[in-house]
């Protein structure tokens, strides 16, 4: 495949920060399989896990409850997704690892509680 059609990325999966190059089918520079998958996905549609907080309303709980999205979501939609996540309020103290569903976006967003 012609050189012009290849794309370069820094792999963000682990701190090795490999420099990847891909033409959409083959990946150069990846030290592991996860990097390869990252590059192939990145040319099609960049995805990211969002880590943020939601507001807890239980008195004894920590005010801001840390969460991450259960799966990576389209980078370009993050501002929109953040608006839905910011609207969430929870009145009980969620257990570590429990899941919270957020509506509004084109598909349901699942959040995992990452702190206690």
């Amino acid at each position: 495949m012609a050189k012009e059609s290849t794309k370069k990325f820094i792999c963000i999966i682990c701190p090795q920060c490999c420099e990847l190059e891909t033409d959409g089918t083959e990946v150069k520079g990846a030290k592991c399989k996860r990097g390869k998958e990252f590059a192939l996905q990145e040319v099609v549609l960049p995805l990211r896990v969002i880590t943020t907080t939601i507001r807890g309303e239980a008195k004894e709980a920590r005010r801001m409850i840390p969460v991450k999205t259960a799966c990576p979501l389209p980078l370009e939609d993050i501002p929109q997704i953040m608006r839905y996540i910011k609207g969430v309020r929870i009145s009980e103290i969620p257990a570590l690892g429990s899941r919270i569903n957020v509506g509004g976006y084109s598909k349901p967003i699942e959040l995992i509680v990452t702190g206690e």
């Binding site: 990325f9 820094i10 792999c11 963000i12 682990c14 701190p15 920060c17 960049p46 990211r48 896990v49 969002i50 880590t51 943020t52 907080t53 507001r55 920590r62 005010r63 801001m64 840390p66 969460v67 991450k68 980078l75 993050i78 953040m82 570590l96 990452t114 702190g115 206690e116």
Partner: protein
């Protein structure tokens, strides 16, 4: 926590953890981002998940942990005096492990000339405000310093609806990991200006702008903003020793960021567990 777990594994019986905050875990509790545990737990987790996972290991063992207890004095005879809600206590120990973490450097905040308006924070303080208390330090932000904490906070502020106008770095290269530049700055179109030096913070009551110089061209620029976050390095927190005029040794040990600054908590955990086992 890791020193206590190491010591308990080694068979030590009487172990006491004293923590000034209401919960164990230290700085990890405000690190809601991913990037922890890859080498220790062999999976990528958030700082808060790492803290929770490790806390379980403490509670499963015969370790007494007291939170909201502030240690204000230690002596060469290894007496520790601390205050908590129900009063002041002094205990003596065979070994003291100081795992008091680090402080953020603020000297640069003070040496940048200009007025002293509201709106100037260290990045770590901003992180605590946003992630623990849910309070935004400001809306129009400039970050000084391209270390990982600065990069992570540039993204965090953006996600929470602020505009991060730039990250200024005096060096000719990024200080943090490239991976963090990619996922914290590039993903959100935040520019990184290398070899740029803050010269003056402008504003009467609140920050109104920052003046900086491009050190390559000598050009000065004024960038309007209401918040400046400084992320310019960490210093080990050793005041308890310095105040008492004590050097580490003779049963007094430093570990983690209190000893020297670590990039990864996994390394802190390993070193502290090892120290704990040695003490048992």
């Amino acid at each position: 926590m890791a020193a206590a777990v190491g010591a308990a594994e080694g068979g030590l019986k009487k172990i006491l953890i004293l923590e000034r905050l209401p919960r164990l875990g230290g700085i990890l509790n405000q690190c809601i981002h991913l990037g922890f545990g890859l080498t220790y737990f062999k999976e990528e987790m958030t700082g808060t998940e790492y803290a929770a996972r490790y806390k379980k290991m403490v509670y499963e063992r015969d370790i007494e942990a007291r939170t909201s207890c502030f240690v204000h004095t230690i002596t060469p005879q290894k007496e520790i005096t601390f205050v908590c809600a129900d009063g002041e206590y002094t205990v003596s120990a065979k070994h003291i492990v100081m795992a008091t973490g680090c402080r953020e450097r603020t000297r640069e905040m003070l040496t940048v000339p200009g007025t002293r308006p509201a709106g100037i924070f260290t990045a770590g303080l901003a992180q605590e405000m946003v992630n623990i208390y849910g309070v935004m330090p400001g809306k129009e932000v400039v970050v000084i310093g391209s270390g990982d904490i600065g990069l992570i906070m540039a993204r965090r502020m953006t996600l929470e609806g602020a505009t991060v106008h730039a990250v200024l770095e005096i060096l000719d290269h990024l200080s943090g990991l490239i991976r963090n530049k990619v996922q914290c700055l590039d993903d959100f179109g935040i520019p990184l200006y290398l070899q740029h030096e803050p010269l003056e913070i402008i504003g009467r009551d609140r920050v109104e702008a920052i003046r900086y110089r491009n050190n390559q061209t000598g050009e000065h620029k004024i960038l309007p903003c209401d918040t400046v976050l400084f992320s310019v390095g960490l210093i080990p927190e050793q005041d308890l020793l310095i105040d008492a005029g004590i050097e580490p040794g003779n049963g007094i040990h430093l570990v983690g960021n209190a000893d020297y600054i670590h990039d990864y908590v996994d390394a802190v955990t390993r070193e502290a567990e090892k120290l704990g086992r040695l003490l048992a």
